[in-house]
């Protein structure tokens, strides 16, 4: 074994030296083409835009000091004691305006414990009021949010999750973004609360830091926010009610975002944004099994929504060329084409080179991705993070992160196939089967 490892490392060293010293630029580019095509441009954009934002205040949204009445819809299912984290974090908000916290317990008959925990908090707390609504029959998250929407008194409505808790200044920061009349919805900034639990949660913490904390700021700067997070959406209430709330079915968050975009074809001036300083902490799955199951649902939902329910998103006549190009690149290329391209690329490598040569090439590519992640995380820790003490501890794990990324990409491919050919969303446990079966798409 040791002899094999020694031979392997030696061979990798020889071939890597050969790649670096004896190949021309064209050959080098070909080797790292997937990286250059798909990952480098986004990372470069992120670093460039955020550097300008941090150093020169460019792309910074003007803030508004106001305290409109705010309603927070917290949907709970079987969180049990954990739902108190979410409610208590609302009661701890340093927001000076009126805050209405509406906790909707889906299937309160079966989830009695969750309902009882939530009920302990019902009442008035100065400028804050907690209302607990038991939805006795389970109907899925969209139905819970729609039910809660009937009770909303606030000018701004937050759609939150019962297993997510929020920083004390979340609402104060979130409402300050609504300086622009045209801004109708914001995505909150989610981070991983249990980042220190397992290797999988550490990877998720890195992933959220890069793809939410930084990437969404970049997209916000370009006016291309692609999703209002389900666990953390911030809306102007009138606008939300005008849309008729959320549609039944899975991935109600992305669904609503896409409906908002459609709305934009009628009202081209409306904007979606990202509130990087409105921070929520959520517990990520702690096992590989858990994360693969979660991501299979998320990725499958992309196919369901883009290719089945909202095909118009790909039509530049409806969404405009900027939006369409972005969707082609980020959704079609990043999410669909890359996994396919990668598999074809690896098959090609194995056909052309010997096993040890392929391993050397993969090691080379791996190192590129590892340093790519390390660099982004270093940039994040130094310039962006508000919890530097947490994030600096994640830096060593960035070198292992490409493994996580690769596994998730293959998992995504499986999810696309399952959804495209077998309607996986109808089997989702996220909504009750009787609701999933009756959804129109």
């Amino acid at each position: 074994m040791i002899e094999f490892l020694g031979n392997y490392l030696h061979a990798v060293y020889v071939y890597l030296s050969n790649i670096i010293l004896n190949t021309n630029l064209y050959e080098k580019i070909i080797l790292v083409l997937p990286y250059l095509l798909f990952d480098f441009p986004l990372a470069a954009g992120i670093v460039l835009v955020l550097s300008l934002k941090v150093l020169f205040g460019l792309f910074e949204r003007e803030r508004r000091e106001w305290t409109p009445p705010v309603s927070a819809l917290i949907t709970a299912y079987n969180e049990r004691e954990a739902v108190k984290n979410s409610i208590e974090s609302m009661l701890e908000q340093n927001y000076r305006g009126y805050l209405q916290v509406i906790v909707i317990v889906d299937g309160a008959k079966q989830n009695k414990e969750t309902y009882e925990v939530a009920r302990r908090y019902e009442g008035n707390y100065g400028n804050k009021e907690v209302l607990v609504i038991p939805k006795w029959e389970r109907g899925g998250r969209a139905s819970s949010l729609n039910l809660g929407l009937n009770f909303v008194k606030g000018e701004i409505t937050l759609a939150l999750d019962g297993d997510t808790s929020y920083d004390r200044d979340m609402i104060k920061n979130a409402v300050s973004h609504f300086s622009d009349e045209k801004l109708v919805a914001l995505s909150g900034n989610l981070r991983i609360r249990n980042w220190n639990k397992t290797l999988v949660t550490k990877f998720q913490a890195i992933e959220y830091a890069i793809s939410i904390y930084m990437a969404k700021q970049f997209l916000d700067a370009l006016g291309l926010i692609n999703n209002i997070s389900g666990a953390f959406g911030i809306f102007k209430t009138d606008f939300l009610k005008g849309l008729g709330g959320w549609d039944a079915g899975t991935a109600e968050d992305l669904d609503l975002t896409l409906r908002l975009k459609k709305y934009r074809s009628l009202y081209p001036d409306i904007k979606l944004g990202f509130a990087h300083d409105a921070i929520g902490l959520t517990d990520g799955p702690e096992t590989w099994r858990g994360i693969l199951k979660q991501r299979k649902r998320w990725d499958g939902d992309l196919v369901y929504l883009y290719f089945k329910k909202h095909t118009w998103v790909l039509n530049p006549k409806i969404v405009g060329w900027k939006e369409a190009l972005y969707t082609y690149y980020l959704v079609l290329v990043q999410n669909f084409a890359v996994p396919v391209f990668m598999i074809l690329y690896y098959i090609k490598l194995f056909l052309r080179f010997s096993f040890i040569e392929v391993m050397a090439i993969l090691t080379f590519i791996y190192l590129i991705y590892a340093f790519h992640t390390l660099f982004l995380m270093l940039f994040f820790v130094i310039f962006i993070s508000e919890r530097k003490r947490w994030d600096v501890k994640l830096l060593p794990y960035t070198l292992l992160y490409p493994v996580y990324g690769l596994i998730l990409r293959f998992n995504a491919l499986y999810a696309y196939i399952d959804e495209a050919f077998f309607d996986a969303h109808r089997r989702s446990s996220y909504v009750p089967p009787w609701v999933a079966r009756k959804s129109k798409f």
Partner: protein
């Protein structure tokens, strides 16, 4: 039956014959003409409810007219409804019949009822009012400006109480005399000192008694372990740890709130549970909640015996009740409370000496049945003797329906001895004079506190005095 019609008309230009502008004028004229004993009725012709209310109160309060039939053209306020005999636009045949019926009952009652005191006279009027109107139950009503939070309107007015709620003592007395039975309707909480219900419950600091306390959450900062009141962390709208200066952003992640504590702004002490204290809005005294007097509020049901008392015009003799009313004594529990304070005072300041004089009075059953008038007269004289010998600062109470207790502040044993001997001598003379020596047992004794040695509790002190009286 000829019934004189006395009309009180609001807005009448002048009073003439039996038509009057004000109820007071009517009362004065009827008294002058000696018409109260002959059948008559009052009819109030009012333009406003306020006038009816005032007229009804004035007429029913006056002992001479408190039993007279009263009618009006307007309805009075709800609480006075049972004090009026009928409401009609004018004097109709029906009203006259009603008045006649009332007079029929009144004329059958024994005239000139025997009553020692004016309050007793008013009580008899009240009973006769109930009897003549066939009212069997006197119900309490809520009233915010009543002494005890409730009042019995018929009793309050006919018993001429200057404050609503004070009729309660009379009703309870008549209950003990078996004139009424009771049916519990509600409860009230009263000041142990003045008997008023306006009590303010306050949370106070257990160390200094200040009301300047506030409930404060304690914050536990996970990363440095510091725990302190939330106010120590509050910097603007941020929470900054006073120990490590790190910002606390997220409950459950950066910090938690393990407990809530009260802090006193006066003495700065920190405590989990504040003490409760009660402030009486009437007498301004402060006392612990356990001293609050919980009392039951009853409806009073007129018993057959009570109706007999009303018919015969003679109250049953109840020695200690008579003494209570005439001497104006305080309850035994407040007496013990005050005695306890005196004992504490004498412990601290031995020169503040005081004595308690005890009088044992046992009136045999035979005396009440064979010579009630003699006993009444004796009691009246006994009250006079006691009043002559005590000072206004002395505090009188009674216990077990056989002892009269008199606390004599700032009194030496010699002084107490003189008072005891004087009362004993006078009582002996009275008993001999009335021929009651064999029917009434009397003994006096006294006990003084001098602040030396172990100071007993109030209960122990009184027990010793009772033992002396029983020797």
């Amino acid at each position: 039956m000829k019934i004189e019609r006395v009309i009180i008309r609001e807005g009448a230009t002048e009073s003439k014959e039996l038509l009057f502008r004000e109820p007071e004028e009517a009362l004065a004229e009827l008294s002058r003409r000696a018409l109260f004993d002959s059948p008559h009725l009052f009819f109030i012709e009012a333009k406003s409810r306020k006038f009816v209310d005032r007229a009804v109160k004035v007429l029913r309060k006056e002992p001479e007219s408190s039993l007279s039939p009263i009618f009006s053209n307007l309805e009075p306020t709800k609480e006075l409804l049972r004090l009026i005999d009928g409401i009609e636009a004018s004097i109709t045949e029906e009203l006259l019949e009603k008045a006649e019926k009332i007079w029929e009952v009144l004329t059958k009652l024994t005239p000139n009822p025997y009553a020692i005191t004016l309050p007793e006279n008013w009580r008899m009027n009240f009973l006769r009012f109930l009897l003549s109107r066939q009212i069997d139950e006197v119900e309490p009503l809520l009233k915010k400006d009543s002494v005890i939070g409730f009042f019995w309107p018929e009793a309050a007015i006919i018993l001429r109480k200057d404050e609503a709620g004070k009729e309660w003592e009379d009703l309870e007395l008549m209950k003990r005399q078996k004139i009424f039975t009771s049916d519990t309707k509600n409860k009230t909480s009263l000041c142990p000192f003045c008997g008023y219900y306006n009590l303010i419950l306050r949370e106070i600091c257990p160390s200094c008694g200040s009301v300047k306390i506030r409930l404060e959450e304690f914050i536990h900062h996970y990363s440095c372990g510091y725990i302190g009141p939330a106010s120590e962390f509050q910097v603007g709208d941020k929470l900054i740890c006073p120990k490590c200066h790190e910002e606390l952003k997220h409950i459950g992640v950066d910090y938690d709130k393990p407990l809530e504590k009260f802090t006193c702004e006066e003495c700065k002490s920190i405590f989990t549970e504040p003490d409760l204290s009660v402030l009486c809005a009437n007498c301004s005294k402060i006392f612990p909640p356990e001293d609050i007097k919980e009392e039951v509020i009853n409806a009073y049901l007129f018993t057959p015996f009570g109706k007999l008392v009303a018919t015969e015009g003679k109250f049953p003799l109840n020695v200690f009740e008579e003494l209570s009313v005439q001497l104006g004594i305080i309850g035994f529990n407040p007496f013990l409370y005050i005695l306890d304070k005196f004992l504490k005072l004498v412990k601290r300041y031995p020169e503040r000496r005081f004595c308690v004089l005890g009088l044992k009075l046992i009136v045999k059953e035979e005396a009440i049945t064979t010579a009630p008038t003699k006993v009444r007269l004796f009691l009246k004289d006994l009250v006079a003797v006691i009043k002559e010998n005590v000072r206004s600062s002395d505090i009188i109470s009674s216990s077990e329906k056989r002892y009269i207790l008199i606390l004599l502040p700032e009194t030496l044993p010699e002084g107490a001895k003189v008072v005891a001997q004087r009362i004993a001598k006078k009582v002996e003379e009275l008993l001999n004079l009335n021929g009651l020596t064999n029917l009434i047992e009397f003994k006096e004794s006294y006990l003084c506190a001098d602040g030396e040695g172990e100071i007993p509790t109030a209960e122990e002190f009184i027990k010793r005095l009772f033992e002396e009286l029983e020797k």
